[in-house]
């Protein structure tokens, strides 16, 4: 791809170098820690599942029992219990759900535990590799049938069965990606609910059963439409790695997953988030799941012109964090958004500049591009046009994952007809400008080119500052999104655990090995 913006390669390299420097000390911290949800995620990979009569999930029951023993890693105890009880994984899960305590079982032979654990790793590995192979095979079988950029819509009824109807309808109408939005505030639950759910507000619970139900429903459509349908959820919030684990097991294809979103926008403790994000990303990487990062969130509270550099800086950091977790660029759905004030003169030019800039700086990433949201109003007719221009920019700059703007964005979570209207809008625009990207060039030193260069410069300058103070202090000072988050505050801090000298996690080791990560 030829550059249309004449961005300085040097400055881009500098930004990447800065990202590496900024992220590096955080990696050291991560290496020494685990968290309750990392352990629960590991248990889930090992097979822990189910819930007790109060709905407390088995992985939570185990971790709660372990208390300070958690520093050794939860797997040891789970596998030990398997060996001691002679139960199958399912049997053990049932027992634990019925109240069995496994923390105090005498620990058996380490070698035996490791041997059994490796067995579980293998079956995990087989399952996830099978999922991955299946996805790849279907993508290959139905190559060329997806739209480019991918058309992404959300369903959010709160009821998984209603979601299924709406998702199948949307996929039938041309959607390539279905995201099941989570219920309001699930991100702050320190557990993942169990089973199929039919209640939620503004979204539907992310549960493994719900994943399974939706995956099966979409697989039907895949065959009918002869097109692979990507399923998306949120590996985000207090259970980031667990949801990644569930997604890997149930063949989700994308996950909202950001290295700092939880800290800034959900007031989750930063240590906790940094540790969680890495493990979640290793799982995503292994499972071939595309992550969608949350840079668009900066623009829901800040101005999209003024604070464009925060988006780009965050992309560089997300990229770095992702590389550190073994994610290749082609799985990085780095986020950005079309969120300028619609009354802004030449706003389209600036949006175009920024979208093209993201495209050129991250040429391999399937960029996730968000539609106008905060400047959408109850005027649905105006909204259609805002969405049309967004569709235009996305197509002409070759974005990867295109979240569909809804004409009713300011009113309600999408009706079935809203999604259809949005899909018609996008399909028409995309087809009508199919090859435009290759046809137009930008004037040298014009408004568009200068805007992109300016944002890059501002980003580098910002990252230089962050590098100087360090990432955690910078967050504490409110340098990101004007939100100050002290490192010892925020939700989930009590779930942070320093790894003990005996820490054992064969799943982590397996993943590191598979992903070619040192350590």
């Amino acid at each position: 791809m030829e550059s249309k913006l004449a961005l300085s390669e040097k400055r881009i390299e500098r930004a990447r170098e800065l990202a590496k420097r900024i992220v590096s000390p955080v990696q050291d911290f991560i290496a020494e820690h685990t968290t309750v949800t990392v352990e629960r995620a590991t248990l889930r990979l090992a097979g822990a599942d189910g819930a007790d009569v109060d709905g407390v999930p088995v992985p939570n029951l185990i971790v709660d029992q372990l208390k300070s023993k958690l520093e050794n890693g939860a797997v040891t105890y789970y596998v030990n219990a398997l060996l001691k009880t002679g139960e199958s994984v399912d049997g053990l899960n049932r027992k634990i759900a019925e109240g069995m305590k496994i923390a105090d079982l005498p620990l058996g032979d380490k070698m035996a535990i490791d041997r059994k654990a490796q067995e579980l790793v293998r079956s995990f590995s087989v399952r996830v590799k099978r999922n991955r192979a299946h996805r790849e095979a279907k993508l290959k079988q139905f190559e060329g049938r997806n739209t480019s950029p991918l058309l992404y819509v959300i369903v959010a009824t709160g009821n998984i069965h209603e979601d299924v109807k709406q998702a199948q309808a949307a996929a039938g109408q041309g959607a390539d990606v279905i995201a099941v939005i989570r219920t309001t505030a699930q991100s702050l639950l320190d557990y993942v609910p169990y089973g199929a759910t039919i209640e939620g507000f503004g979204g539907t619970y992310a549960t493994q059963e719900n994943f399974r139900i939706m995956r099966a429903a979409l697989d039907e459509v895949v065959e009918r439409e002869q097109r692979y349908i990507y399923l998306t959820n949120y590996a985000s919030g207090l259970c980031m790695p667990e949801i990644a684990a569930m997604g890997a097991l149930e063949r989700l294809d994308m996950m909202l997953n950001d290295s700092m979103y939880g800290i800034l926008f959900r007031d989750i403790n930063m240590y906790r988030t940094f540790v969680d994000q890495k493990f979640s990303r290793m799982i995503n990487a292994f499972a071939g799941v595309i992550i969608n990062t949350g840079e668009d969130n900066y623009l829901t509270t800040s101005d999209a012109v003024e604070k464009a550099y925060t988006v780009l800086a965050s992309q560089f950091l997300n990229e770095r964090f992702a590389f550190e977790a073994g994610l290749p660029a082609k799985l990085m759905g780095l986020g950005h958004a079309f969120e300028m004030n619609p009354t802004l003169k030449n706003g389209f030019l600036f949006e175009l500049a920024q979208a093209q800039m993201a495209r050129e700086i991250f040429p391999e990433a399937p960029l996730k591009y968000m539609p106008p949201t905060k400047f959408m109003t109850g005027d649905i007719f105006k909204g259609q046009v805002q969405d049309a221009l967004f569709n235009f920019v996305s197509k002409v700059t070759n974005q990867g994952i295109h979240l569909l703007g809804m004409l009713t964005e300011a009113i309600h979570t999408p009706f079935m007809m809203d999604r259809s209207i949005a899909l018609e809008n996008a399909k028409y625009v995309f087809n009508n400008i199919e090859d435009l990207a290759g046809e137009i060039e930008f004037k040298k030193d014009g408004l568009i080119v200068r805007r992109a260069q300016q944002v890059l410069e501002e980003t580098v300058a910002f990252m230089e500052t962050v590098d100087k103070v360090g990432l955690m202090p910078a967050i504490e000072q409110g340098q990101f999104a004007d939100i100050k988050r002290p490192r010892d505050m925020g939700k989930g801090l009590d779930g942070l655990v320093k790894k003990g000298p005996e820490y054992y996690n064969p799943f982590e080791s397996y993943l590191k090995n598979e992903l070619g990560l040192e350590g």
Binding site: T157, N159, D379, F381, A410
Partner: protein, 245 residues
């Protein structure tokens, strides 16, 4: 089956509306709009947008939920053609077999209406959307008189060529000008004692079979019609008449 509109949940009754009120924009206008929507039978009404159109006129976008429902099972549709629509070849075959002579059809866009694209789509050789027009039917003799043809002239022509069927196209419907013109045509035909001589069809983007029948036509054809449809209708009717006699 009782059905209601569907937003995102069965039977939620969700509907979108937009309209203008002849009052100024503002809180009072919005409340008036909301009350109006309620009066139409909506609950959970919401005026999601309003803006001024002019002094004393304002525009509203609304969403509401209604319990108004209809019984889908009792919905009856009266299309001119049933499920079986002949292809061109089939139609010609049937004509050859069952009628044994060419069927004569005269068409026009009548009155002041100059929208010929519709009638051309039905009659011209090249047809429409890969459906050939009547002129291409080997067993049909088709005369297309074009635009703005006076009713009188169309009838005279139909008599002259001994038409089996007359096809009228009406596209301009503002202030029901098409109704006036269509009624006038039938009255004229009756006055001349010719009503029973012809199968008379009317088509147009806002014409339906129901309306056509009410106005005294044999059949009416709306959006998405092809020559196939009207040919099927005419052929079947001609055969019927032969049998009847």
């Amino acid at each position: 089956m009782i059905i209601r509109p569907y937003g995102d949940t069965l039977d939620d009754g969700a509907v979108q509306l937009s309209f203008t009120l002849p009052v100024p924009d503002g809180p009072k206008g919005r409340e008036a709009a909301r009350l109006f929507v309620e009066k139409l039978g909506f609950k959970h009404t919401e005026i999601t947008h309003s803006h001024a159109l002019a002094e004393g006129f304002s525009f509203y976008v609304a969403y509401g939920k209604t319990e108004t429902s209809i019984d889908f099972d009792t919905v009856r549709i009266k299309e001119a053609t049933g499920d079986k629509v002949y292809s061109m070849d089939e139609a010609c075959e049937v004509i050859k077999e069952k009628i044994g002579r060419k069927v004569v059809v005269v068409g026009a866009c009548t009155g002041f209406d100059a929208h010929t694209v519709g009638i051309d789509a039905i009659m011209n050789m090249k047809g429409y959307n890969h459906h050939y027009g009547l002129e291409r039917y080997s067993e049909i003799e088709a005369y297309n008189l074009g635009a703005q043809v006076p009713n009188e002239k169309l009838i005279d022509y139909a008599v002259k060529v001994k038409a089996d069927a007359i096809l009228i196209s009406q596209i301009v419907t503002q202030k029901d000008v098409h109704i006036q013109n269509l009624v006038e045509f039938i009255e004229l035909l009756q006055a001349k004692g010719l009503r029973e001589k012809f199968i008379v069809c009317v088509g147009g983007s806002r014409i339906g079979n129901q309306l056509a029948v009410e106005l005294g036509y044999d059949g009416g054809f709306g959006k998405g019609t092809y020559a196939d449809h009207v040919a099927t209708f005419i052929v079947d009717r001609v055969i019927e008449q032969k049998v009847a006699r």
